[in-house]
């Protein structure tokens, strides 16, 4: 009798230990991050959003995996901004590290590189700092773009905004990276259709460190609009040298970078009137989680989030979190849930149609009086577009 009791007790203790060990098993989320190289300045904002999300989820007891809370653990590697490295890393994450979930790398170029891998292993991943017409056309089943700014659409909307702003002569300046080339492919016909004359059309390599020759041409041509398809590094260079040379076009669009904290700190009031890519703002009262995210980010990092990259990165975490709560970690169920579900995010509710964000329209932000306002489309705008003052 005593022996049976003892055996039962030992079995019960062992089972309890096993169950609690299972419950405490972390959910391992893998990703590559561009800690070095061309994309490092942008990726630094992405990882901060990932870290903030993990901290908040773990503080609530962990990630809800179909009803069971489990702590979140990251498995990450530096891809050195090289797409070939990202491919190797994601393959390792799936086959060797055997992670439960994947978060995306930084930027369209890296996303594009790993799409075939996601398809081969049928591993779903919610994208963030990327969009691509090419990917939309090949209709993959394991990637979804939280960004509404698919290149053909944002080219079209940007030309509409420029037209509405009264632009008739425009300088089109661009980094030579593939996403910018894809935008150029669509924006040039749109400008022609809108009868906006392109008076300067220049492309520069990512390594550019002086724009005097290009911007002297712009200054001489005196356009009333400038569109700069840039990454954070060349956005800083453009803004500094355009200010220096006195380029005073009333409409100036600088694609990626101006919504970041360092950029805002460097230029202060000189940014007033700069238009940029972005669809999120904490100012919109209809998105209650937006201000919560903003406050949590500022509290953790003592600086505001990037309204584009930080927001997108956090949104992708939220979509993944809610899909896992419903579907658990079964990849087939997860794919189905992401494809069909609606998710509450800092950018309002989101759902997908194919790879695209089916709710949010292409939007643009503008620096106005020290704040970043959403100015396009009018249905979401927190402020009206204002021409850049001379």
């Amino acid at each position: 009798m005593f022996r049976r009791l003892l055996l039962g007790l030992v079995t019960a203790i062992a089972l309890t230990g096993w169950v609690s060990a299972q419950a405490a098993d972390p959910v391992r989320i893998g990703f590559s991050i561009s800690e070095t190289g061309l994309f490092a300045p942008g990726a630094a904002k992405q990882i901060k959003s990932y870290d903030l999300w993990r901290e908040l989820v773990n503080a609530k007891g962990g990630l809800d995996v179909a009803g069971t809370k489990r702590p979140v653990e990251f498995v990450k590697y530096d891809d050195q901004s090289a797409p070939a490295n990202a491919v190797k890393i994601y393959e390792k994450l799936i086959t060797d590290d055997k992670v439960d979930l994947l978060f995306p790398p930084f930027g369209t170029v890296m996303h594009l590189a790993i799409v075939p891998l996601l398809e081969r292993y049928k591993f779903p991943m919610v994208a963030n700092t990327a969009s691509s017409v090419h990917i939309r056309e090949i209709k993959p089943g394991n990637i979804w773009f939280t960004s509404p700014s698919i290149h053909d659409k944002w080219a079209e909307e940007l030309v509409k905004l420029a037209k509405q702003a009264g632009v008739s002569r425009l300088a089109l300046l661009s980094n030579a990276i593939p996403p910018a080339n894809e935008v150029r492919r669509f924006i040039i016909p749109e400008l022609e259709k809108a009868k906006i004359e392109i008076v300067v059309n220049e492309v520069w390599p990512p390594s550019i460190n002086d724009m005097t020759a290009v911007l002297s041409q712009v200054k001489k041509a005196a356009p009333d609009g400038v569109i700069v398809l840039s990454l954070p590094n060349d956005s800083v260079l453009y803004t500094r040298q355009a200010n220096e040379l006195g380029i005073d076009a009333k409409f100036q669009f600088v694609a990626i970078g101006p919504a970041g904290a360092a950029y805002r700190k460097m230029f202060g009031p000189k940014l007033d009137g700069i238009v940029m890519l972005g669809h999120w703002t904490p100012e919109r009262k209809e998105w209650p989680q937006a201000k919560e995210f903003y406050d949590a980010y500022v509290a953790k990092y003592n600086e505001p989030p990037d309204y584009l990259d930080s927001a997108l990165s956090y949104i992708s975490c939220q979509v993944t979190e809610q899909a896992v709560a419903k579907a658990g970690l079964d990849l087939d169920k997860l794919r189905e849930t992401i494809s069909t579900g609606t998710f509450e995010t800092i950018n309002g509710p989101i759902r997908f149609k194919g790879v695209e964000n089916a709710v949010l329209p292409v939007s643009f932000l503008q620096h106005q009086g020290g704040k970043i306002e959403l100015i396009w489309p009018s249905s979401l705008a927190t402020a009206q577009y204002k021409p850049r003052s001379k």
Binding site: S207, I208, S216, K220, N233, E244, L245, A262, G268
Partner: protein, 297 residues
């Protein structure tokens, strides 16, 4: 087009870009010239200098122009420490000394990883920036941001002072002698150890100063150093390895090739022009663009 090519603005851009190249390369050349150490972590010294100036301004309100001094002192002390605790011992052992040029590559590669990660841990990888002297001043047909002008003036002053120092001071002559022939310099009574310590300290210090100047005009990250290392190597090879004044001249030449080359062709030709000039010099004049062989003038 011709009016842009003849504009003072383009000339100013070429001189400013070239002077910064010259300054960054000067530090690297001092270290290579006197000790044949291939400091591929030179860009990381630029990065450290940038963080010293940026942090001084952002956290303590210290003017970046004062931060320039702080950056130079900090990286200079690092150079002295590296010499005293590492290279001094390696240089006195003949068998290690012979392999030092190749080994220094590995040592400094390790230094890159360590420095980048220390700064990334301390400051995170997020780009940093600050506003300082960002007014635009005009003189003649040239418009320049004040911080860019200040950076240029400091860089030019350091390059000029170094050139004069090498020609006019006994220590400068000793550095030149050491660059020309280390053993002969020792034989004629030069305190090789002390000159090497001074060169490494100065070389590191100049890298830090260049970084502090860069931080006034650019976003900085812990991983910003590599392009500066590359540019510095191109410049010192163009100018002749160990040829300090040649390196300064090569920096300016590179600035002109870059700015006028882009103006004449397109920005996409930037790298082709830079590395094309580099390869051409390697093939046609491997001793560098300045007259004579390796050495100093």
């Amino acid at each position: 087009m011709i009016d842009i090519l003849l504009s003072e603005q383009l000339l100013a851009a070429a001189i400013i870009t070239g002077t910064l190249y010259a300054l960054v390369a000067l530090g690297l050349n001092l270290v290579y010239g006197t000790m044949r150490l291939l400091n591929i972590a030179h860009g990381e010294l630029v990065m450290l200098g940038a963080y010293v100036a940026s942090s001084g301004y952002n956290y303590f309100g210290i003017s970046p122009l004062v931060g320039v001094i702080g950056a130079g002192v900090l990286t200079g002390l690092m150079g002295a420490a590296v010499y005293i605790f590492l290279f001094r011992n390696l240089l006195v052992k003949p068998e290690l000394s012979r392999r030092l040029e190749a080994n220094s590559l590995l040592i400094f590669f390790g230094a890159i990883v360590i420095l980048q990660n220390i700064v990334a841990l301390a400051f995170t990888g997020t780009p940093r920036g600050y506003r300082y002297l960002d007014g635009v001043i005009h003189f003649g047909g040239v418009a320049l941001t004040e911080n860019r002008l200040a950076g240029f003036l400091i860089a030019a002053a350091i390059c000029l002072a170094t050139a004069i120092f090498l020609r006019a001071s006994i220590v400068g002559v000793a550095i030149k002698a050491l660059i020309q022939d280390r053993r002969a310099a020792g034989l004629v009574g030069i305190n090789v150890d002390r000159i090497q310590l001074l060169s490494l300290t100065l070389g590191f210090s100049i890298g830090g100063v260049a970084g502090a100047l860069v931080s006034m005009t650019q976003e900085i990250t812990p991983f910003m150093g590599f392009p500066y290392t590359m540019a510095a190597f191109v410049v010192i090879i163009l100018g002749g390895l160990g040829n300090l004044v040649g390196g300064i001249a090569a920096g300016l030449v590179l600035g002109f090739i870059q700015i006028y080359g882009v103006a004449l062709t397109s920005p996409q030709w930037n790298s082709i022009l830079l590395y094309g000039a580099f390869v051409a010099v390697l093939v046609l004049r491997p001793q560098g663009i300045m007259r004579g062989g390796r050495g100093v003038r």
